[in-house]
Amino acid sequence: MKGLSPLDIKLLRDIWHMRGQAIAVGIIVACGVAIMVMALGTLSTLSASRDAYYERYRFADVFTSVRRAPESAAARLRAIDGVQTIETRIVRLVILRIPDVEEPANAQIVSLPDTGESILNRIVLFSGRYPETRSPDEIIISNAFAEANGLQTGDAIEAVMNGRLRALTIVGIGDSPEFIYALGPGSLMPDDRLFGIFWMRRQALEAAFDLDGAFNSVSLTVAPGTDTALVIDQVDDVLAPYGGTGAIDRSDQLSNAFVESEMNQLKTMARIIPAVFLAVSAVLIHSILNRLIQTERQQIGLFKAFGYSRREITWHYLKFAIAITAGGVLAGFALGFILQNLITQLYAETFRIPDLTWRIDSFALFASALAALGSAIAGSMSAALGAAKLSPAEAMQPAPPVNYHQGWLRYILQMRWLDEPTRLILRHLFRFPARTAANLFGIAAAVALLVSTLFSFDAIDTIMEQMFFRTNAHDAAITFFEGRNDTALSELSRLPGVMSAEGVRDIPASLEAGHRSERVGITGLPADAQLRRILSADGRYVDIPSTGIVLSSQLADMLHVTTGDLVTAHFLDATRPVVDLPVTAVVDEFVGTPAFMDLQTMNALLDQPPTISGAYLKLDPLAQAAFEESVIERPGIAGVSLRAAAIDSFEETLQETIYIMMSIYAVIGGAIAAGVVYNAARISLTERGRELASLRVLGFTHHEVGYILLGELALVALVGIPIGCIGGIALAHLIATAMATELYRIPVVVNPSTLGVAAMIVLFSSTIAALFVVRRVRSLDLIAVLKTRE
C-alpha cells in the first residue's frame, strides 16, 4: 500500500467493507454497459461488414423491374445524367421440387452475364465455379439455402420454369449483397429451407422465359454527388412504356431495408435500455454514499479539522462512486463482449453477410464507460458535496437522533389492528421519503424494464393472430408471373383440394398528398373478400368500399392524411393512370405500409379487363398434398406460399432470436431488483442494527426482527410493482415507436400474464437478495448493543 494516501487506503477499506453493496451496484452498472456494448458493438460490426460487402461486391444504388424491355432501352438508361454503371438482368421466381420437402419451395432466379461475373451485385463465391455459358442448366445457389437443404456443388435440383420441370445442376455456392436478408414471396421471415436465390446464365434464362434480347430487371449505380431522386424519375420515364414498376433506391430495397431496420432496433436498444440501468445505479450509489457519509460523519469532521479541503473531501467520495462504477464498467465490457458474440452469431444466421464476426468497437466502450461514470458522478455529487460542506465542529458531534413527528400518518397508525412492528415499518417508510422513493424507483424500474422487453412476446402473438388468423384466412397464396385474366382463378379453383379461391392484384404506385409522396403497393381485393381481410384499429373488419382507397395507419401517418382526405395515386402500370382517390378508411396493419382498394374499381381505373396478379386459396386440409403436387405444375405460377409453413418459419426464427434476447433481459431485470433490495436491506441493517439487536435482547425472535427489517421493502415492492407495470407500458410505447419502420410496426399489447411474469421475476430475485441480508440478523451482536452508544 506504499504510495497510497491515507484517504485512498480508507477508500479501499470502505469499498472492501461494503463489498456486497459495491457488487450489487457493479452488477447493475455492468448490465447497462453490457447492453450498450452489445448493441453498439453489434451495430458497428453489422454496419462495417455490410458497408465493406456493398463496396467490394458493388451493391447497386437503384433497382427497378419492368415487364419486358428490349435491350435497346438499356442504352437510353445509360445515357441518363448521373448514371455510372448499369446492368440489365432477368429476375424470376420459380417453384422448386426438393426431395423430402413437402411444402412448395421457391427460388428467385437471377441472371448472370453470358460471360464472366456480374458488374453489380456481384457474387461472393464460397465454393464451386460460375456456370458455363453453354451449359444452360448450371446454377449457383445461395449459401443459406444450400446449408438448410444440405445441398452441395454437383447436386441437382428440380425447378418448374415457365411450366416446364427442369433439372438444374449446382456448380457453385455463393451470396450477393442484394440478398443479405432473403425473403420469399408472402413470407415475413427468411425461411432458408423454402426460399433460395439461384444465379443462372442470361442466355439460358432468356430461352426459358421467352425473353430473348429483353430484360425485366435493372440495377444501376449513381455517380457521387448526383441526386438519386432525379435519376429515378428519368429511369421511370424510360421504362414506363415497357411496364416499368417504378425504380427504388437502396433504402427501399427489401434486403437492405431489413438490415437498416435491425440496425435501427439496435440503436434504440442502446439508447433506451442502458439508461434505465444507469439511472437505477445512480440512485443506488446516491443512497450508499449518503449512508457511508452519515457513518463517517465524525471522521469527516476530523479530516476537515486536520486541514483537508472541501475539494479533497468531495473528490474522496466521488472516487468511491467512480471506483465502484469502474469495476462495473470493466465487468460490463466482458459481459458485453460475450453477448455481442452471441448476438452476432445469431445475426450471421439471418443476415447473410460474409465475415460477420465479432469485433471490438472502441466507440461503444468509450460511450458506455462515459455514460456509466457520468451517471455515477451525477448520483454521488450531492452526497459528496454534502459531506464536504459539514463544518468540522458540527461533524465531530454525534449525529442528532432522527426526529420523528406525528404527522398525518398518525391517523393511519392509530388503527388498533396495527401491531408495533408494522407501525415502526410505516413510520420508517414515511420518515425517509427520499430513500423510500429511491427504493420505489429501483423496484419500479426493474419491473418496467421487464415489462418493456417481455411485451415483445405479446406483440408477436398479436401480430401472428392478426396476420395469420384474422386478416389472412387463406391457406395458400399464389403469385403469378404477370397479370392474368379471370380464367386463371377458375383454373385454380378446379385444382384438387381447393375449396374457394379469390383473386388479388398488386400494383406499384406512388401516392401523393400535398408535398408528401410515398411509393407503395396497392392491393386490389374483391368486394366480398373473405380470404384476405382488413381490420380497423379497434379490431373490426372493414369492407373494401367500391370507390376510394383504404390506407394502413402507418401510410396515413406518413402522408399526413385521414379518412375523407384525397390522395393522388400514380399507378405504375402500363397505362400509368393518375387519379385522385378519397381515403375511405384507415386500417391496422403491422407489416409494411399497404393500401387497399376494390379490385374491380382498380381494373376499371387501369382500363383493363378483369385482371389478377395472384390468388388466395382455402384448402381442404385432407387434400393438401394433392394440391401441392398439382399446383407446381401449372404454368404461369411464380410462387406458392402456404400459411402453415409461414407460421412455422415465423415461430422458428423468432424462437431463436427473441427467446435468447428475452432470457437475457429477464436475468438482468431480475439483477436490478436484487441489487436494489440487497442494497436497501443492507443500509437498513447497518442503520438499525443496534435497534434490531435491542429488540432481540428484549425477546423478539429472528423472524420478528427480520419482519421489521424487510417488511418495509416488501411494502415498497408491493407499491413499486404496479408503478413499474405502468412505467413498463409507457416504456414499451416508447420502444415500439422508436423501432417502427416502414417494414413493420410493433403493436403495444401487454397481457396481464406478462405483467405477472415481470412481477414474479422481481419478487423472486428480491426475495433471494433479502434472504442474503436477513441471514445477518442471526449474527447481530446482542451484547455489544448493551454497552455501546450509537
Binding site: P400, P401, Y404, L698, G699, L786, R789, E790
Partner: protein, 247 residues
Amino acid sequence: MPASKSDKQTSGQTDILMEGRGLERTFITGEVSVHALRGVDISLKRGELVVLLGHSGSGKSTLLNILGGLDRATAGTLHFDGHDLTHASDDELTRYRRRSVGFVFQFYNLVAGLTAKENVSLVTEIAKSPMKPEEALELVGLGNRVQHFPAQLSGGEQQRVAVARAIAKRPQILFCDEPTGALDSQTGIRVLEALDRVNRELSTTMLIITHNVGIGEIADRVLRMQDGLIIEETAPKRRLKPSEISW
C-alpha cells in the same frame, strides 16, 4: 417454562428465583484467552433488589449477559425458577428473555421511530399478561409523555421509558446494566426511584449492575465483583430510598 409471577406464592416453591453455580466464561481471541468469570456462585431471591458492584473489567457485565440469557457460560450450571438454562438453545433463550426477563440498558436503546407508548407496546404485544403501556409509563412518572418520541425526551425520561418498557410485561426478573451511567445524579435518582417503586409494588426481582458504590444503599444485598469472582457480599442495615442517596 418459568411460571408467571402470579404463581409466586404457590406453596412448595423455593425462595430462590435464579441460581448460578460455578459459572465460568472464557473468551478466546486469537491466541489469548481471557477468563472473564472464574467460577461464580450467585443466587437471587424472589422480590429481592440486588446491586452488583465492580470496576470495569471485573466481569459484572459478562455475568449479567449470562444471567439474562444473552450469552452462555463456558462451565457451571444456571437455573431459573426451577428450569435448567445451562444448555438452553438459542430459541429457548429467546423465549426466556421474551417471557421472564426485562432489560434496562445504559444507553436506553429506545426505538427512535416509535413514541414512548409505542416503545412500551412493542414489548407488551409479545408478552403473555402485560400491564397497559400507559400504566407502565405512569409507574415511572411519565404519564404525561406517552405520545413523545425519544428525540423529544430528556435522557432521564428516555431511561424511564426504557424502565417502563422493561417492566410492562411483568417480568419475573429485571436486569439493569448501568441504568444511571449516562445520566447526571439528579436524573439518575429519578430513574432509581422508578426502579425502586417497581421492585416494591410489583415484587420484581432486580439485579442492578453499576460501578457506583452509592447505589448499593438502595439494595437488599450488595455483591462486589473483582477479577471474575464475587469477592464480597453485604446487606445494608437499612435499605435507603433513592432520594436519600447521592453521588
